[in-house]
């Protein structure tokens, strides 16, 4: 049975020339058609008020605060002392580690995201080839994901300890006696990437596996009937379907990589030198350890936020293009 409101919307009465049909003139038109009744699906804007208030509290307030800090002389002890314009930005740019940290953060996030996504995709395909259940193997693969990053850092740091570390013997056996990855800049940075990828690859595996379950079996059968082998089936049937999901996961991994902090804090403290100072750690150093320059830290936060926005927008556009291509 059709409700009166639906009928009114679905079959508007003929309108005189020059007058828009009922239901297209404005928001009030439909309501006037059936006084006292709301259209199905219509939700009052006021119901969004609690969410908007929460958003304002959790997002707008801190953002405004950060912007104000960034344009004022602000220390940890005395925030918002006086207007300084772009001084904090200049200080950040001229500091020892900030500009380099932006490069390191991007390199870290991009390399780690690509590696984790590639490895996670491969693992998901292998698991899917075994069947449609994640199974015990899949569950074991998830263990790094549920381990707190601090514990991951502590464990890896102990294993890579140059004296008495678990990998000392391994390095000896491989012909690298005395190897100490955390002792030099490139080694420490690479080690952090490996630890991060080890922890976050399972997330990719889990999400891509779920996406693979969404590929209709009939499509695979049709491809097989047409003579397509496993590789052709993957590239022509499976990949186009899961690509938007893979790009979503890549975006997620990118954001996780840009946010990395715990590992750096626990394993290298940004060292040796400034080799592993990523931006999140540099912001912490500037504001909370050593200088207590909260204004400069806020300026660094804004620049980093802009950079993160640019990166994530690029991946989002790629994903949108993939979705259009599939659809």
């Amino acid at each position: 049975m059709t409700s009166p409101a639906t009928a009114a919307t679905a079959a508007p009465s003929p309108a005189p020339p020059g007058v828009p049909p009922q239901g297209t003139r404005g928001r009030g038109a439909g309501r006037r058609a059936v006084p006292g009744r709301r259209r199905p699906g219509h939700v009052s804007s006021w119901l969004a008020a609690p969410s908007l208030a929460g958003l304002a509290l959790m997002l707008v307030y801190p953002t405004v605060f950060v912007v104000l800090l960034a344009v004022t002389k602000s220390s940890l002890a005395r925030p918002l002392q006086r207007w300084t314009g772009t001084d904090n930005l200049v200080d950040a740019w001229e500091s020892l580690a900030f500009a380099g940290s932006l490069v390191r953060s991007v390199v870290f996030a991009v390399v780690a995201a690509l590696l984790a996504t590639a490895l996670g995709l491969a693992l998901a395909l292998l698991l899917h080839a075994r069947g449609t259940r994640f199974g015990l193997v899949g569950t074991v693969l998830l263990l790094p994901l549920v381990t707190p990053p601090v514990m991951v850092g502590v464990a890896w740091k102990l294993m890579l300890a140059p004296v008495g570390g678990a990998f000392t013997g391994v390095f000896d056996a491989l012909g690298f006696p005395g190897a100490n990855p955390l002792g030099d800049g490139v080694g420490a940075f690479s080690a952090l990437v490996v630890m991060h990828v080890w922890q976050w690859t399972p997330l990719v595996t889990l999400l891509v596996f779920a996406a693979l379950l969404g590929v209709e079996h009939e499509l695979r059968e049709a491809a097989a009937l047409d003579g397509a082998g496993p590789v052709r089936t993957f590239t022509s049937v499976v990949w186009p379907v899961v690509l938007p999901n893979v790009l979503s996961v890549l975006l997620l991994e990118l954001v996780i990589g840009l946010k990395v902090f715990d590992l750096v804090t626990v394993v290298t403290q940004g060292g040796p030198g400034v080799s592993t100072i990523v931006t999140s750690f540099e912001i912490f150093r500037t504001g909370m350890r050593g200088s207590y320059e909260i204004g400069t830290a806020a300026a660094e936060t804004l620049v980093f936020g802009l950079l993160v926005g640019l990166l994530t927008t690029a991946v989002t556009l790629l994903r949108a293009r993939a979705v259009r291509a599939e659809g």
Partner: protein, 456 residues
């Protein structure tokens, strides 16, 4: 006939009125937001505690924010004693040493005011006072002869507590460094305890080379934070006869002594436990107590741990000497490395009681108990403790070296507002030199430039 135009003046007036209203509201809103946001950082009341204030500790609960290595001193030693004497309770929060000062500032400026007493680094004193995180105790201390200020070691009392003529705490942990060595390893490789940094280098290189890497000749603490790498540098700086500031308070980081001190750190690295930049307080102590390293310049209380079979494999197998000298300097001099006072938090709701606790915790009996107990992390802050036979019995063979340092004229770190930043800037440059990214003169020239920008 042209169509009459709408009445522009009235529209314009309306628009202007609206704009004015909006801009006024926006401006007022921004000001209000700035004011209210700034006000969020309030909550501190660091006004001076008057003379004669006497808090009652009976049944009191004191909340303390303390340095992580001091945790046992409060939980296992002071806590039970406080409960027994006053029926009170200590609630202790331990913070990693590299975050202690910032956490204390945040507690007060963030408005939480959760703590009554701060165990503070003396070189953070300027930043803490600037943040109103410490209460001015000048009059309170002057008005209570029972505190026994004359007994505090002259070498640390003013450095730890006095800023711009006002006192903000009482000395709690008289931290200096000495050089510990593994006597068994020295004997095995035919090495004598060094008196100069050159002898130290030679001993380190010989032991590391002759042992084939099974024992490292030196352990160099180089973690890139002021309280670790800063100490290692300043130890050598004092040994070479240098200082951080001259008599007028100007930085002297490019002096010959400073360059020699950093060059020494760089040169000894290949013979040190790998690698200095990866070596913090815990790693260094662990390596020395397990016999992996033969020499370690560190805080004086390590001797107590070295004699504790529960934590040491070198019981009765170690020795200690004053920090070596270098260059043309022949006078042994230690430095006030880290060092702690106890102060009353500007956010405390019971400042008189907190001050009474500070007096009790820094009294002779407590200082003796803490300084004589392995694992407390506390060294003498009072002359009566340092000179007592009982403390000498506990400190054993380290006593003479400890006394020589604390009774001398140790090199002090800056402690004005921004001193923590100065030290962080310095260790950042030192770390780049240790990493091989730049040479010692370049590193120190850059640090000098930064310091000059900050303090002239």
């Amino acid at each position: 006939m042209p169509t009459p135009l709408p009445s522009r003046p009235s529209t314009s007036r309306a628009l202007l009125s609206r704009r004015r209203l909006l801009s006024t509201a926006l401006g007022a809103g921004t000001l209000a937001a700035t004011g209210s946001l700034a006000a969020c950082g309030g909550g501190a009341d660091a006004s001076a505690l008057p003379s004669g204030s006497a808090g009652d500790l009976k049944g009191a609960t004191i909340k303390l924010m303390v340095n992580q290595p001091h945790r046992l001193a409060f939980t296992d030693l002071l806590g039970p004693a406080f409960a027994q004497e006053f029926g009170g309770k200590l609630e202790v929060t331990a913070i990693p040493y590299d975050q202690l000062t910032s956490k204390q500032i945040l507690d007060v400026q963030g408005g939480a005011g959760e703590f009554d007493v701060f165990d503070y680094f003396y070189f953070g004193l300027g930043d803490l006072v600037d943040a109103e995180a410490l209460v001015d105790l000048t009059d309170w201390i002057a008005g209570d002869p029972g505190i026994g200020t004359g007994d505090f070691l002259p070498s640390i009392y003013d450095h730890y507590t006095l800023l711009d003529g006002k006192r903000y705490g009482l000395p709690f942990d008289g931290d200096t460094h000495v050089l510990y060595y593994n006597a068994e390893v020295f004997e095995r490789y035919g090495v004598e305890p060094p008196t100069t940094w050159d002898e130290y280098d030679a001993a380190a290189a010989k032991i590391t080379q002759d042992s084939g890497g099974s024992v490292y000749g030196a352990i160099v603490e180089g973690q890139q934070v002021p309280v670790i790498l800063g100490c290692s540098f300043v130890n050598r700086l004092a040994g070479y006869g240098g200082s951080l500031l001259d008599g007028d308070g100007r930085p002297t980081l490019t002096s010959d002594a400073a360059v020699a001190a950093l060059q020494h750190l760089v040169d000894v690295s290949p013979a040190a436990l790998p690698t200095p930049l990866q070596t913090g307080f815990d790693q260094a102590n662990g390596a020395f107590l397990s016999g992996q390293g033969a020499m370690l310049d560190t805080w004086t209380d390590l001797g107590l741990k070295a004699q504790d079979p529960a934590s040491s494999k070198i019981v009765d197998k170690w020795g200690v000497v004053p920090l070596p000298v270098g260059g043309s300097n022949t006078e042994h001099r230690t430095a006030l490395e880290a060092g702690f006072g106890l102060g009353v938090s500007g956010g405390s709701q019971q400042k008189e009681v907190a001050a009474a606790f500070v007096k009790w915790a820094t009294a002779e009996r407590q200082n003796f108990t803490l300084a004589s107990t392995a694992g407390s992390g506390i060294d003498p802050a009072r002359s009566s403790v340092l000179s007592s036979p009982e403390y000498a019995a506990a400190a054993g063979i380290a006593t003479d070296a400890i006394r020589e340092g604390l009774e001398g004229s140790p090199l002090a770190w800056p402690k004005t507002v921004g001193a923590v930043k100065l030290m962080q800037d310095l260790v950042d440059q030192l770390a780049l030199a240790l990493q091989g990214e730049q040479d010692a003169p370049t590193a120190l020239a850059k640090a000098q430039e930064t310091w000059e920008e900050e303090i002239g």
